[in-house]
Symmetry: C2
Subunit: 258 residues, 2 copies
């Protein structure tokens, strides 16, 4: 664990009362884990809300980063106001986090400024993370080339166009890249990140606090379990966007000479 | 299924392509399910975001209801702007939904206007629902007297002071009352409500779309599984608020002559 990692873990442990305040103070005032969460129009609020809740419990130094300071509109009609933009964001994030939202992700993949920002930040961050279609943007920024990664099930395979080794686990960790499946996988991801950044005990407290003891009323959370009819119905309504995502992923791969 | 229930189910099925548009049109223009979600200061954003995502997929007619039109601040620092207030909310909701957030719930339990509003709406709504500490507010409004109900594990027992029969399941359904456990239980609740309001197939599609195939990295989602040390650590930091909630619950019970 390097000094930055140590300080982040100590700070997080301290604010949750896992270590005595004096132990934290003895190290000076350790930096809180610095977490940058990209926000963009047409993102899925729930992709953000799970990890944001976890990072907030960690009392991390959280920035919601957008291209401009204007509020971005989410899938559910609630706007999110950014707290930082591409110029003001710190260059040494502990965690870079990218949420999903298929329409918005495709637009972001086509936006040079966004892709460049994610690439720069991704190269410097301790952990590079995403939920849902957010991994397509990491891929477009060249951050998943040669890495195992996952995404929302309906676009997962597209990661291969950008050099990733596609896996279908809920959370896929390869070195410092952590990518997760669709929408609700953000909660599993957040607990995993909490463990890496702030330790096992804190992550377990967090799981208890948000009572993450899931009992889905149906067994329909993956195409394999939902069955063909349900899966085809979901795909049919998104086929245009999935084709657009495929085009964007291939173009991104071509620009990396893949 | 009464006419209102039939229309709501038909509308929801129609917008998701479960029935041919002509079948829906043949019934006239059926009303979309009308869902009122209470929002209040210090509520937990994730309590709202899970159900809001589900209701949005259902293309329900959603109102975010607050005492006034001012934005309310959530636990994670993101404000939520209401779309309706106590005066403008329709009187015949298909679903009344109350999120949690211990500090905010206690304040709401002590606010006569809020309690009166919840009582009135709860008497008329087809389904009366809550996640997390939201059930304490339903209890304070007298809506859980003689009903089985649950809440966040750390205040669940307080429901008994307001005449509820306490249960510790993730989602507890008793007649038209559906109450859920802490924070993330809102997702399980939302899928259950979707099934009741719009049918089994729609709920299964929804689960697949939000890829709700949970794989918690730890087994720490309930006090029984987290163990004594983790549980006591979580309780220690909330003991003052839990005591305040107990006082509020007892006062509410006394006002109902319990």
């Amino acid at each position: 664990m390097d000094r930055r990692a140590f300080n982040a873990a100590l700070a997080a442990a301290s604010v949750l009362g896992l270590v005595a305040p004096t132990a934290a103070r003895a190290q000076g005032a350790p930096a809180r884990p610095r977490i940058g969460m990209l926000v963009y129009s047409d993102m899925i609020l729930l992709d953000l809300a799970g990890p944001l809740t976890a990072f907030n419990i960690m009392q991390a130094d959280i920035q919601l980063i957008a291209r401009s300071s204007q509020a971005v509109m989410t899938d559910v009609g609630l706007p999110v106001t950014p707290t930082a933009n591409f110029e003001t964001t710190a260059k040494d994030l502990d965690v870079l986090f990218v949420p999903g939202g298929l329409k918005g992700t495709i637009a972001a993949m086509k936006d040079t400024q966004t892709v460049d920002f994610v690439r720069e930040q991704g190269r410097a961050a301790r952990y590079v993370t995403s939920v849902c279609t957010g991994s397509l943007l990491l891929g477009a920024a060249g951050l998943l080339k040669g890495y195992q990664a996952t995404s929302h099930w309906y676009v997962r395979d597209l990661l291969a166009h950008m050099g990733a080794v596609v896996r279908k686990d809920r959370v896929v960790e390869d070195r410092n890249r952590l990518t997760a499946g669709g929408v609700t996988a953000g909660i599993d991801l957040a607990l995993t990140i909490a463990e890496r950044v702030a330790g096992d005990e804190l992550a377990r407290r967090m799981q208890l606090l948000i009572e993450y003891d899931p009992r889905p009323p149906f067994d329909s959370g993956s195409p394999e379990h939902a069955g063909l009819k349900i899966t085809e119905a979901v795909l049919a309504r998104r086929s245009d966007l999935i084709r657009e995502a495929e085009t964007a992923a291939k173009a991104a791969g071509a620009s990396m000479n893949l």
